[in-house]
C-alpha cells in the first residue's frame, strides 16, 4: 500500500533541501551551534544532507562564558564525533568589562551574545549563517522568512524581507550583507522532540531530570553551575530533581521541577504541561515585542 510521507519525513526533506541550497549558493556558510535540542536536530539534518561527506561548513559557537559546563562538554564531544570544525567566539571586550548576567541584565545579552555574534560573522566574513530558530517559538517569529536577509551591519528590517514562494529561495547578497537561514522554521517543539526520539539524536543531559543544586530567585529555579553565582540574602542552595526545557546561559535559564529522566517522559511532560518553553528564558520577559526589537538589532 502506498503511504504518503509523514509529517516528520516532509519536514526533514524540506530542511535538507534548505541546507543543500545554502551550500550550493553561498561562498562561506557557517552553522550557529547553540548546543540545545534545536541545534542538535539541525546538526543531525546537516549530517544527513551531505552524507557520506561531513557537512561542508564549520560550526560557530558564540560562547558567552556563562553556559552550563555540561553544554560545553557535550559540544566538544559532538564536534569530535562528527569530524567537524568548530569555531568558538568570545567577545573579549565583554570579558574585559567583566560582563555578567547577574549584574548587567539586558546589556549582558547585547554585548556577549548579539555583539559577539556580529564580531564572529564579520571576522570570518560568513555570508550565510544557519540558525535553529523555529516559527512557533514566539509570535514575532511567525513572519520570519526561512532565508532572512540582514544588512551589512546585521540589521533585520521587517519591512524589507523578500517574499518566499514555493521552495525557491533568493540567496543573492552583496558584499558585506548576509542571510540568516532557518532550516527548521516549520518545526514545532513537539516535532523536534518526536524527531529526536525517532532518530535517536543525542542531546545535552541537562534536558533530563536529575538532582541538581538550585536556588529560587524571582520565582524561578536557577542552577548553581559554578562559584560565580553569589547567593543573595535569604537564598539557600536546594537539591531538587530538575530539568531544563531550553538551554542557554545558566543564570538566565530557569529549571523546572521534574522527574522525567527518559526521552518519552520528557515528551509526556511536555504534552501535559501548560506553559511554553520560552517561559524559561528570562530574555523574553522584558516586554511584549521584545524579541522583535532584539532581532532588529541583530540578535539571532
Amino acid at each position: 500500500m502506498k503511504k504518503n510521507l509523514t509529517h516528520l519525513q516532509q519536514l526533514e526533506a524540506e530542511s535538507i533541501h534548505i541546507l543543500r541550497e545554502v551550500v550550493a549558493e553561498f561562498a562561506n556558510p557557517v552553522m550557529l551551534y547553540s548546543i540545545g535540542k534545536d541545534s542538535a536536530v539541525m546538526l543531525h539534518l546537516a549530517r544527513k544532507a551531505f552524507y557520506p561527506a561531513p557537512p561542508p561548513f564549520p560550526l560557530l559557537h558564540v560562547d558567552t562564558t556563562w553556559k552550563f559546563k555540561e553544554m560545553i562538554a557535550f559540544r566538544d564531544k559532538m564536534v569530535a564525533e562528527c569530524g567537524l570544525k568548530l569555531i568558538v567566539h568570545v567577545n573579549e571586550e565583554g570579558v574585559r568589562q567583566k560582563m555578567s548576567p547577574f549584574t548587567h541584565g539586558g546589556l549582558y545579552t547585547d554585548v556577549m551574545k548579539t555583539e559577539g555574534l556580529k564580531q564572529a560573522l564579520d571576522l570570518h566574513k560568513f555570508d550565510a549563517a544557519f540558525g535553529g530558530a523555529r516559527r512557533d517559538e514566539e509570535k514575532s517569529r511567525a513572519k520570519e522568512r526561512i532565508f532572512s536577509f540582514r544588512s551589512a551591519n546585521h540589521r533585520w528590517d521587517p519591512k524589507d524581507q523578500r517574499p518566499e514562494l514555493w521552495s525557491l529561495y533568493n540567496t543573492r547578497v552583496k558584499p558585506g550583507e548576509s542571510i540568516r537561514v532557518f532550516p527548521i522554521s516549520n518545526w514545532t517543539e513537539l516535532d523536534i522532540w518526536q524527531y529526536i526520539h525517532l532518530e535517536g539524536i543525542p542531546i545535552v543531559p541537562l534536558y533530563y531530570a536529575a538532582v541538581r543544586p538550585v536556588v529560587e530567585r524571582d520565582g524561578m529555579l536557577i542552577m548553581v553551575d559554578d562559584d560565580r553565582m553569589e547567593l543573595l540574602p535569604g537564598e539557600v542552595i536546594q537539591h531538587k530533581s530538575v530539568r531544563f526545557r531550553t538551554l542557554g546561559c545558566y543564570p538566565l535559564t530557569a529549571a523546572v521541577e521534574s522527574e522525567a529522566d527518559t526521552l518519552p517522559q520528557i515528551i509526556q511532560e511536555m504534552l501535559l504541561t501548560r506553559t511554553s518553553e520560552r517561559q524559561g528564558r528570562l530574555i523574553d520577559h522584558d516586554q511584549a515585542g521584545s524579541m522583535e526589537k532584539k532581532k532588529q538589532e541583530g540578535y539571532f
Binding site: 504518503n4 510521507l5 533541501h17 557520506p52 509570535k139 514562494l165 526589537k293
Partner: protein, 560 residues
C-alpha cells in the same frame, strides 16, 4: 480534546508510535480582518490546545489592553506578530501558524487582506494544498471573495473550504447559508477547483469549528476541524514521470559522485533509467544513498542522493528525468507573472530567473495581457506594477527544463530577481513553452484538410472550434505548422468565445497566412493587433470594448 491525554499519561510509547504516522496539511486562510479570519485561526490554535498558560496570561492582558472584544478574550491577538502591526490593528505580511491534532500537523499560511494582498496571498498560497476562504454570512460574496478565489486558483490550489462565518449574526439561517453556497459554486465554476466544501461557522462562538453545532441542525457536513483533519489531499506526484532537479553534487572523494535534490515527481529505484534534461544523455540509478543505509525506493517529496552507473556530466542546474517523458526544454516559456515589487516590470531588461534547478539571466519580451484580479477582465498593458498579474513571454539565456505549472508546481515555477538590488520582484508560473520550440504538437489542436479552391490553387482548410480552446492564458491557434495558403473555417462556439471578450492569438508561419486571419476578423467584426518579433508573427483577435458580465456579488468598496 485534540490530543489523547489518556494515552499520553498511561502509555507514552504507544502514543509516540501512533504519532509517527501523522500526516501534514498546509493550508491558507483568505479573508479580511472583518471576516473574523484571525479569530478563526486563533480559535483553531486554542481548541487544539496549542496555547500555553503563559501565552494565555499574555493574551488576557493584551485582550484588556488592545482587544476588540470588550475585555473578553480576543483570539485574534494570539496571532499578531510584529509590534507595529499590532498597533495598527492589521496584519501586513504572511505569517505561518502551527497546530497539530492526533491525526495531523497543520501549517497555516495566514495572509492579510490589505492592499498588498496579492503579493502576500500568492506567497502564502504557493505552498498550500487547501484554501479556507472566509465569507461574512451577513454580506455574502464580495469582490474580495472573487479575488481571493482567483488568486488561489492561479497558484494551483484545487480544494476550497468556503467558511461562511458569523452565522450567529444571521440567526443560523439555513437559507442564507444555502444561497451563499450556491452563489459561490456558480461563480467559481470556471476556476477549476476539484472540491468546494461550504461550512456554516461562528468562529467567535465555536459553532462547527470542532464539534457539530446544535445551532445548525440542518447542516450535516463536516466541522472545520473535522474537514481539515480527515481531508485526503490527492497523493503527491509519485505516479507521474520522474523529475529531480539536481541541487548539489556531492563529491567527497574521487570514488563517490552523488546527485542531491528533492524529487519533484515520480518514484525512483536502483536500476531505473534516467535522462539528463539538458544533454539528453541517459544512465541508470546505481544507489539511493542515505545516512541510514541505501533505500530500495524513493518517492516525490523526498530529499535524496542518487549515484549513477555511468560517468555522465551532471551538475547543479540539470534535471534528472524519466527518459520516456522528459520535461520541455525551453528558452521562451509563456507564463503567468505576479509582480511583487514597487518598481514595475521593465520589459527587455535582464532579470535573474530562478527555477527549481538554476539561476539564469532572462528578460520579459512581451506582456501579452494583464488580468484584473477583481473582474478577471483581460487588458492590454505595456508593463506590470506591484500586485499586478499578467501573461508574459520570457526569453532565457539558455534553455531550461520546465513542466507546465499545472502539471508540476515545483518544475513549473520560478521567481524573478532584480540583478542590481537583489530584490525578489516577481513570481512566475509556466503556462507553456512557445510554439517555435514545440516541433511536434501545436499549442491547440487544429484540424486541417486539403481542398482545391475555385482558382485551382491548393489551399488548406483549417477548422477551428471551441473544443480547441481550453486551458489557461490567451488561447492561441498555431498556424506555424501549416504550409502554404490556408482558409479558416470557424464554429459558432469559437465565435461565441470571442464575443464573450476573450482574446485569441494566431501564430503565423508567414505573411501568406495573414489574409485568412484578416478575413475572419472582417467577416465577424473583430479587431486585431499585429505583432512581429524575433520569435515570429502573431495576430491577436478580440472584440473591442467588451465589458465582463457582472457577477452576483457586490463591491466591498473598502480597498482591502
Amino acid at each position: 480534546m485534540a490530543h489523547q491525554s489518556d494515552l499520553i499519561e498511561n502509555d507514552i510509547l504507544a502514543y509516540l508510535k501512533s504519532q509517527e504516522e501523522k500526516s501534514l496539511l498546509r493550508f491558507i486562510t483568505c479573508g479580511s480582518v472583518d471576516d473574523g479570519k484571525s479569530t478563526l485561526i486563533g480559535r483553531l490554535l486554542w481548541d487544539s490546545k496549542m496555547v500555553f498558560e503563559d501565552q494565555l496570561a499574555a493574551l488576557e492582558a493584551d485582550s484588556k489592553r488592545v482587544g476588540t472584544q470588550g475585555g473578553a478574550i480576543d483570539y485574534a491577538l494570539l496571532l499578531d506578530g510584529l509590534q507595529a502591526e499590532r498597533e495598527q490593528g492589521i496584519t501586513i505580511d504572511v505569517a505561518y501558524r502551527f497546530f497539530s491534532t492526533d491525526l495531523r500537523k497543520f501549517i497555516v499560511a495566514d495572509t492579510p487582506g490589505h492592499e498588498q494582498y496579492t503579493r502576500n496571498m500568492v506567497t502564502g498560497a504557493s505552498t498550500a494544498q487547501v484554501a479556507v476562504i472566509l465569507v461574512d454570512a451577513r454580506k455574502g460574496l464580495l469582490t474580495q471573495t472573487r479575488r481571493h478565489s482567483f488568486l488561489v486558483s492561479l497558484v494551483g490550489i484545487k480544494h476550497i473550504v468556503l467558511a461562511i462565518n458569523k452565522m450567529d449574526l444571521v440567526d443560523f439561517d439555513a437559507d442564507t447559508f444555502e444561497a451563499i453556497r450556491r452563489d459561490y459554486e456558480q461563480f467559481a465554476a470556471p476556476l477549476g477547483f476539484d472540491s468546494i466544501t461550504a461550512i456554516p461557522l461562528s468562529a467567535l462562538n465555536g459553532d462547527n469549528m470542532i464539534d457539530a453545532s446544535p445551532n445548525t441542525p440542518w447542516y450535516t457536513g463536516p466541522t472545520l476541524m473535522h474537514f481539515l483533519e480527515t481531508f485526503q489531499v490527492e497523493g503527491d506526484n509519485r505516479d507521474l514521470p520522474f523529475r529531480m532537479p539536481v541541487q548539489w553534487v556531492n563529491r567527497p572523494h574521487l570514488d563517490f559522485r552523488g546527485f542531491c535534490g528533492v524529487i519533484a515527481a515520480g518514484t525512483i529505484r536502483p536500476g531505473d533509467e534516467v535522462r539528463v534534461a539538458a544533454s539528453g544523455r541517459t544512465s541508470k540509478v546505481a544507489r539511493i544513498v542515505t545516512m541510514g543505509g541505501d533505500l530500495p525506493e524513493a518517492v516525490s517529496g523526498q530529499s535524496i542522493t542518487l549515484t549513477l552507473t555511468d560517468e555522465i556530466d551532471v551538475s547543479r542546474g540539470d534535471m534528472l528525468t524519466a527518459p520516456e517523458a522528459p520535461p520541455i526544454h525551453a528558452r521562451h516559456p509563456e507564463a503567468h507573472l505576479v509582480w511583487m515589487h514597487d518598481e514595475p516590470l521593465q520589459p527587455g531588461l535582464i532579470y535573474l530567473v530562478k527555477t527549481a534547478t538554476a539561476v539564469t539571466p532572462g528578460r520579459v519580451t512581451a506582456v501579452q495581457y494583464a488580468v484584473d484580479v477583481n473582474t478577471l477582465e483581460q487588458k492590454q498593458v505595456a508593463t506590470l506594477g506591484l500586485n499586478e498579474i499578467g501573461v508574459v513571454r520570457l526569453e532565457l539565456d539558455r534553455p531550461i527544463a520546465f513542466d507546465s505549472y499545472e502539471q508540476n508546481r515545483t518544475t513549473g515555477s520560478f521567481i524573478l530577481i532584480d540583478r542590481f538590488t537583489n530584490a525578489t520582484v516577481a513570481a512566475g508560473m509556466v503556462i507553456t513553452p512557445t510554439p517555435a520550440e514545440l516541433h511536434k504538437a501545436p499549442l491547440k489542436s487544429v484540424t486541417s484538410s486539403d481542398l482545391q479552391d475555385g482558382q485551382g490553387g491548393h489551399r488548406r482548410l483549417v477548422n477551428l472550434s471551441e473544443a480547441t480552446l481550453s486551458g489557461t492564458g490567451v488561447c492561441s491557434v498555431d498556424l506555424t505548422v501549416e504550409w502554404g495558403p490556408i482558409e479558416l473555417v470557424v464554429s459558432d462556439g469559437f465565435l461565441d468565445y470571442l464575443t464573450k471578450g476573450n482574446r485569441i492569438l494566431f501564430r503565423l508561419r508567414d505573411l501568406d497566412q495573414l489574409e485568412a486571419v484578416a478575413l475572419l476578423a472582417y467577416e465577424h467584426t473583430l479587431s486585431f493587433e499585429f505583432d512581429r518579433t524575433a520569435e515570429g508573427i502573431s495576430i491577436l483577435i478580440f472584440v473591442r470594448g467588451t465589458k465582463p458580465v457582472k457577477g452576483p456579488y457586490d463591491e466591498d468598496g473598502v480597498g482591502i
